[in-house]
């Protein structure tokens, strides 16, 4: 049958790229269609949230703490030139809350959580577990994808708050060792400059990143091609694609929040 021969509109590569974008769009829309439909798998969402925390807590603690400490250390020389080391806590706090904590959390989560969602769903696809759900009249999208995306959207903002806290502790350690500032003085000084807008912007960022990590990982895994190779590919492109999107979202959200910051 020659009718099966593929006809390309703009050439093979561009056509495939456009089809991939369309596919992703359909997946994205499907999420919103299914999230409020039918029975919600609360138990599975809780389990996924737990798994997300469990997988990334240690790494986030470590990275967050070190980031806070190192950033403080690096900022001190430029401030001490003006004799303004007393501003150190508020400077560091602004940097952490506005930029560092959301980004550190997002990148670590993309690496740890995004890849494991991609691999997990990918191997379920490859070993026909997803097909098995479908033929037993259970909606696999609802059970596997919706739960993971919702869990990421909830858990990653929580992780971001945790990361901010740990980073501030790292900064405090460095400041108290050098300037002898007390715990209370440090935190009073730190939060002096932080506004509601900063916090809401960070929350918005973390929600966007969490959603991105969840949906990109799920998309890659859910549509993994057959074969073990497909699992590796799904995990890999889950990380690469979500990091790419996270940076784009970062730029957009910062632009929008600066618009409100007069």
């Amino acid at each position: 049958m020659s009718a099966n021969k593929k006809q390309f509109v703009y050439g093979k590569n561009l056509d495939n790229a456009l089809l991939a974008v369309y596919d992703a769009y359909v997946f994205f829309i499907r999420f919103f269609r299914e999230v409020f439909r039918g029975r919600m798998e609360f138990q599975e969402i809780v389990r996924q949230c737990y798994a997300i925390g469990n997988r990334s807590l240690l790494l986030i603690s470590l990275t967050g703490f070190i980031t806070g400490m190192v950033f403080t250390k690096q900022s001190r020389p430029s401030l001490s030139e003006f004799g303004a080391t007393s501003w150190l806590p508020s400077l560091v706090a602004i940097a952490i809350v506005r930029a560092l904590a959301p980004l550190v959390t997002a990148l670590i989560s993309a690496g740890k959580i995004g890849s494991s969602i991609g691999a997990e769903l990918g191997s379920m696809r490859v070993t026909e577990q997803i097909d098995a759900m479908e033929v037993s009249a259970v909606n696999p999208f609802k059970f596997l994808v919706v739960t993971r995306v919702v869990a990421c959207t909830i858990a990653i903002p929580v992780l971001m708050f945790y990361c901010s806290l740990v980073s501030l502790l790292g900064a405090f350690l460095n400041v108290t060792l050098n300037e002898g500032t007390s715990f209370i003085a440090f935190f009073e000084n730190a939060f002096e400059q932080i506004t509601f807008l900063d916090i809401w912007t960070s929350v918005a960022k973390a929600i966007a990143y969490g959603f991105t990590i969840g949906i990109v990982g799920s998309y890659q895994g859910y549509n993994a091609s057959k074969g073990t190779e497909g699992v590796g590919k799904a995990a890999n492109s889950a990380v690469v694609t979500s990091m790419f999107l996270i940076f784009i979202e970062e730029v957009i959200i910062v632009q929008v929040s600066n618009y409100f910051r007069i």
Binding site: N4, Q129, A132
Partner: protein, 254 residues
């Protein structure tokens, strides 16, 4: 759509079915009728499209053309709840078992049950899970995870997982592949027991002629995308067709 099928009435009707993947023409004009209460065995070499055929019957794949009518409905035209209702009546046992490997055996079995029959009490769930596990003879594995089971045990758990929804039709994809002869015999017995206990109509895909002879009321031989011959075991293999004979010889010399 409640229709009562009398014995002998066609439950699955496949007419002139075609399916290709790109340039690979897998099914090329398949015809098959399976009547109520019958065990139909589908034989064929690797890659002839046996799995593809039964996947079309549950709507996992769509044919390019031709009809696939199951319980009076064209599967490719069903969507949403209608497709769901049809799938509830079909048990599909996967070639590689496809057990959910993050769940225990108990959770594997509960999974389709609690999602399709809401408002069961804990006791009712346990009772049904234990009943089907007992039917496949693996009650002792209830708290194990799939990784701890042998290939034959997985196959049987896979069958149990489909039985828990009390299907009218069972589709077995190579239930005995890769198992030792004794386990094969046990699986053959299980298939026959299922037929009696659950009054199912079944399609059994296999390469294994012993399995075909033990379980099949009729046998269909898939070659080059078509059913070359359909009939009882003796009818199919009493032939001069070279390829059928070589299939037979190869199997029993092995």
């Amino acid at each position: 759509m409640e229709e009562d099928f009398k014995p002998g009435e066609p439950v699955i009707e496949v007419r002139d079915l075609y399916k290709s993947f790109g340039d690979l023409h897998v099914l090329q004009g398949v015809n098959l009728t399976v009547t109520k209460g019958e065990n139909m065995v589908v034989l064929g070499r690797s890659g002839t499209g046996k799995s593809v055929l039964i996947k079309i019957m549950v709507g996992l794949l769509k044919q390019d053309r031709g009809d696939c009518i199951v319980l009076g409905q064209e599967v490719s035209k069903l969507e949403g709840n209608d497709l769901r209702d049809l799938r509830l009546k079909i048990g599909f046992s996967f070639q590689n078992s496809a057990l959910y490997d993050s769940m225990t055996v108990r959770e594997n079995l509960e999974f389709p049950l609690v999602r399709n029959i809401p408002n069961l009490t804990r006791a009712e769930i346990d009772e049904q899970v234990e009943y089907v596990l007992d039917a496949v003879g693996l009650l002792q594995t209830i708290n194990q995870v799939p990784a701890e089971l042998s290939g034959g045990q997985r196959k049987r758990i896979g069958i149990a997982r489909t039985l828990i929804l009390k299907p009218e039709i069972m589709l077995y994809d190579e239930p005995t592949a890769g198992l030792d002869p004794i386990t094969c015999l046990e699986i053959n017995e299980l298939i026959n027991e299922v037929k009696e206990k659950y009054q199912t109509t079944s399609i059994i895909i296999t390469h294994d002629l012993t399995c075909a002879r033990e379980t099949g009321d009729r046998i269909a031989m898939l070659l080059d995308g078509k059913f070359l011959k359909t009939g009882t075991f003796e009818e199919v293999f009493d032939t001069d067709e070279e390829r059928i004979k070589s299939f037979y010889d190869y199997n029993f010399i092995q």
